[in-house]
């Protein structure tokens, strides 16, 4: 029983998200919101790795999301649909079910490689430098895409809707929610494993005291680059999902506003708390939707909320704690390998 806490949790959320969508109990709008929540969870969890666990300050996460979004949607649209950008489809529509996840993966890899370009020079120094560099990257990304007319430039890029429709025509199944769900589980799985392992936990040591880490044999430069790439790669995959969910993207979709949203979700949830990130992504997405009737006032309400948060709970919902620290009884089912090992050795 002890080892099955996680699979049970995944199974339950699977039942609640996908099965109702499949059976048509959820309207398209609800399905859209669920997908958006999933995407935001991936983005928040991945940025938390850099800003929370590693203690660096990246403010241009949307740029990496955008790289993934453009890469994967260019791929699917180019390969699978007839469109004004590239003309006739190359592969039959039937392959869409296969091509879609592959394009997501390629989008993630592209974002990770792009982040490597930034990480190598940025991590030579410490502190605010990365913030400035990532901000600049966000601008560079936007103006670069705006100037490539072949993919729509500032007018944006579309056609992903046809791909999604093709998948649905082939097998009627909520594919987008399904893949979002898988990627959410995958992201949380690998990030949780990473930050619990001795290798990954060293990034917390780097945040705490970089020089001490380096002198205690931690290869800080390598580790920081790896964590950054991991985080940006996941953001790229999330970007691919996002592009196929909204079916129309333009360079401003992945600009400062989006970056700020992700930052807000990270700080709302708590730095260095995975469960906090998940909670805040859910709360924040739903809140934004609920505030939709306020129209323009939404842009007043959201920042106000942030100010209130910073005044009364500057550490975010969870601080650096996990849900397990709040409900210790659950530890029986969800505690990490390392914790179990420690306990076992203390007892013996």
């Amino acid at each position: 029983m002890k080892r099955f806490g996680m699979p049970t949790l995944i199974g339950i959320s699977f039942l609640f998200c996908i099965v109702p969508s499949w059976l048509g109990w959820f309207s398209n709008y609800i399905q859209f919101i669920i997908t958006l929540i999933g995407i935001n969870i991936i983005l928040t969890v991945s940025l938390n790795l850099i800003n929370g666990y590693m203690g660096e300050f990246s403010v241009g996460h949307a740029a990496f999301m955008g790289v993934g979004a453009y890469t994967s949607s260019l791929l699917t649209v180019y390969l699978l649909t007839e469109n004004p950008f590239f003309g006739k489809a190359i592969l039959p529509e039937e392959l869409s079910i296969l091509i879609f996840p592959i394009s997501l993966l390629i989008g993630g890899v592209a974002a990770a490689l792009f982040s490597l370009l930034i990480a190598i020079p940025s991590f030579r120094t410490r502190g605010d430098y990365l913030a400035i560099v990532t901000l600049a990257v966000n601008f560079i990304f936007k103006s670069a895409i705006e100037n490539i007319d072949a993919i729509g430039g500032p007018r944006g890029f579309m056609g992903m809707g046809k791909v999604v429709k093709a998948m649905d025509n082939l097998v009627s199944f909520p594919w987008l929610i399904f893949w979002t769900f898988l990627v959410v589980v995958f992201s949380i799985f690998i990030i949780r494993n990473f930050v619990n392992s001795t290798m990954g936990k060293s990034i917390v040591a780097i945040r705490d005291d970089e020089i001490a880490s380096e002198l205690m044999t931690v290869n800080t430069r390598w580790l920081k680059i790896v964590a950054f790439m991991l985080s940006c790669g996941l953001a790229g995959v999330a970007g691919g999902l996002h592009a196929h969910t909204v079916t129309f993207i333009n360079p401003s979709s992945y600009f400062i506003l989006q970056s700020t949203y992700i930052l807000v979700m990270v700080y709302l949830g708590g730095m260095g708390s995975l469960s906090g990130s998940v909670i805040s992504a859910i709360v924040f997405t739903i809140l934004l939707e609920l505030l939709r009737p306020l129209d323009v006032w939404r842009w007043v309400a959201t920042p106000l909320l942030l100010i209130i948060l910073m005044l009364f709970r500057p550490t975010g919902i969870m601080g650096s704690r996990e849900l397990l620290d709040v409900f210790p009884k659950l530890k029986k089912y969800f505690s990490s390998l390392q914790e179990r090992l420690t306990n076992a050795f203390i007892k013996s």
Binding site: S197, M199, D209, L215, T217, N219, L337, L341
Partner: protein, 255 residues
């Protein structure tokens, strides 16, 4: 062959010569002290050996490996453990995690193992935890395993730090003012601890200290540093009677 050979080490901070022509040979299982007034450059020597600063001139050889130009983590992985003047444990991580992370260079699994939770990771984490717990047990620190270091008494924090420095199976242990801020009782314990560590783990200990009680009690050989250069070298007794040392510490006698 000496374990550590420092030859004609010189280092400038801008225009200031912080270390000037420093020479040292350490053989195995020695206990050597480095003393000097504040700002004499003692910690700088340690930082040069560990690779935090790059020397302007000179060479450092450890176990036949040239240390100049290597990253600090590569140097310490070769088997140099060190502690810090102001305790630098990771305060947001428990004592056991402090010990585990110091195993970083000894981890066998790769990045992908840590992401996907493979059998190799489980095996290795088990090994690392086992080793860490054994070490903590030797230092009588098991009751504090899950505590955050900042919540521990000062003397215990020092013990944890020395314990962490021994994780990389060092053949050389650098102690930077381990008795700083301790009372007389704790200093007595520390003296015994350092002796015990040296014999138990077969390490060479190189120690910076201001507390003469510690230095005179445990060191077999002492170097005195003033304004970056060695002004005296010898056994504790020789150092105690050396007029140059007395001058450096107390100033010139009025004649």
């Amino acid at each position: 062959m000496p374990l550590l050979k420092v030859d004609k080490l010189t280092h400038y901070f801008g225009g200031l010569r912080s270390v000037d022509n420093f020479n040292l040979e350490l053989s195995e299982n020695e206990l050597v002290g480095l003393i000097g007034p504040n700002g004499a450059g003692k910690s700088t020597v340690f930082n040069l050996v560990c690779g935090l600063y790059r020397p302007t001139e000179g060479s450092i050889t450890f176990n036949g490996n040239n240390l100049i130009g290597r990253y600090p983590h590569q140097i310490t992985s070769l088997g140099i453990g060190r502690t810090f003047q102001n305790i630098r444990l990771w305060n947001e991580l428990s004592v056991i995690d402090n010990l585990r992370i110091a195993h970083f260079s000894q981890i066998d699994y790769k990045l992908l193992d840590s992401l996907f939770f493979t059998g190799r990771l489980v095996r290795d984490e088990q090994k690392v935890t086992q080793e860490a717990m054994d070490l903590l047990d030797k230092f009588n620190l098991v009751p504090y395993v899950k505590e955050l270091p900042r919540n521990l008494p000062y003397g215990i924090q020092r013990r944890v730090e020395i314990c962490r420095a021994l994780v990389m199976n060092p053949s050389l242990l650098l102690l930077d003012e381990p008795a700083a801020g301790m009372n007389q009782g704790e200093i007595g314990e520390l003296i015994n601890l350092v002796r015990w560590v040296k014999d138990e783990f077969k390490v060479t200990v190189w120690i910076i200290e201001h507390q003469m009680r510690v230095i005179m009690n445990i060191c077999e050989r002492i170097q005195v540093l003033d304004f970056g250069s060695i002004i005296a070298e010898g056994t504790p007794k020789e150092i105690r009677d050396n007029p140059l040392v007395i001058k450096a510490y107390l100033g010139e006698e009025v004649t």
